[in-house]
Symmetry: C2
Subunit: 225 residues, 2 copies
């Protein structure tokens, strides 16, 4: 596992779009220093409680971070998609493990390479800071969701997130590449609760589609932001 190739691939989901076709990503300047890594479904490439000198940019596919407790409880920290950066913020034992949800392609960097580039490249430095700020805002929204949101709200919020990540432009339909177990551990719910919640949303007409296919309504009607 964790095979390494020399090569590049154009990252999707750019933060800065210069032109519709040729997307520029803030991590691009770092690309030459990155090794491409290809992983199969469920392979774990960051181990909980062990230090890791690496960060990863998702090139394609979906990655999850997960914190496990001794008694089997599990919390998923985030799902990452093409363009996202993983593992920068923790130097030392990693509180969350990271693994591939499906097949993924990653670009691997040493953490210090990022720090070094930040020290010399002001633009990159700003982008990194904005990235961290954004992650922090996102994490805090999730704190409110997990602290005070009902099961239905958590599920709807999750689906909106996925819509934002998985739909091109203003599209509203997507195929969810994530299993219910993972969704449940992401939302702090039981798998059955998620299943029932989704069924309820479908029966009430709040969303459309069936099984792993979702059709979201246009407007964000009162979904905990």
């Amino acid at each position: 596992m964790l095979s390494t190739y020399a090569g590049t691939a154009a990252p999707r989901n750019p933060v800065v779009a210069i032109s519709p076709a040729e997307a520029v990503h803030w991590l691009d300047p770092l690309a030459p220093m990155g090794a491409i890594v290809r992983l199969g479904r469920n392979s774990e490439f960051v181990v909980q409680d062990e230090p890791s000198a690496f960060c990863f940019q998702i090139v394609s596919g979906c990655v999850r971070t997960a914190m496990a407790m001794e008694d089997g409880r599990r919390q998923i920290g985030e799902f990452l998609f093409a363009g996202d950066l993983l593992g920068y913020e923790t130097d030392g034992p990693q509180p969350y493990a990271a693994s591939a949800v499906g097949d993924v392609v990653l670009r691997r960097f040493r953490r210090c390479a990022i720090d070094r580039l930040a020290a010399s490249d002001t633009e990159f430095d700003t982008a990194l800071r904005q990235y961290l700020s954004g992650q922090l805002r996102t994490a805090r929204k999730r704190i409110a969701l997990l602290g005070r949101g009902t099961a239905g709200e958590r599920i709807m919020s999750f689906l909106r997130e996925m819509q934002a990540r998985l739909c091109e432009g203003g599209a509203t339909a997507f195929e969810l590449p994530i299993k219910l177990v993972d969704v449940a551990d992401y939302l702090g719910l039981a798998l059955e609760t998620v299943c029932r919640g989704v069924a309820d949303l479908r029966k009430s007409g709040a969303i459309g589609g069936s099984r792993t296919y979702f059709v979201m309504p246009r407007l964000a009607l009162r979904v905990l932001h």
Copy 2:
């Protein structure tokens, strides 16, 4: 409210301690640009959903950030104490309001002043990045706690946090300056649940003290990290 003075005060709870007596904080280089603000109990100085051009360093006292929903539910994002920085990560409408728990003294900066200093001072830039990374790690621990922790675990985790913030050196006893309502909204619980949880911890001997006074045991025995 929100009166402003020119003046300085030595920040407690430094991130970098050069000598025991003369503590140096990473925000110190910014101090000359900051205005001192004194606020009374419960005064709100950042309003939810409204933009704010300012960041604040807590000089003394305790501050809370809170997100409120239309139906009265409320989530507290964090409690901040002397030395902490608030409000850097969000430029634009603030998802969380900020208010004083008791009387507080703050130092106020423009957000752009921080960015400007970061661009010119490498050491400060690094410290800022480490600060953001630390906040992110903290927020993600909280996500696991709120997603999967029981009431008892949340409460114990909160008390440990407070011990870390409020106790000098290795002390284990502290007076909690925060009301149960706020603790409840911080932990995503009902205030009665917090009250009962604390009572249970006391009855079982897991902690000591009474009312707002807490005596923690020495070792961290299985408290969700």
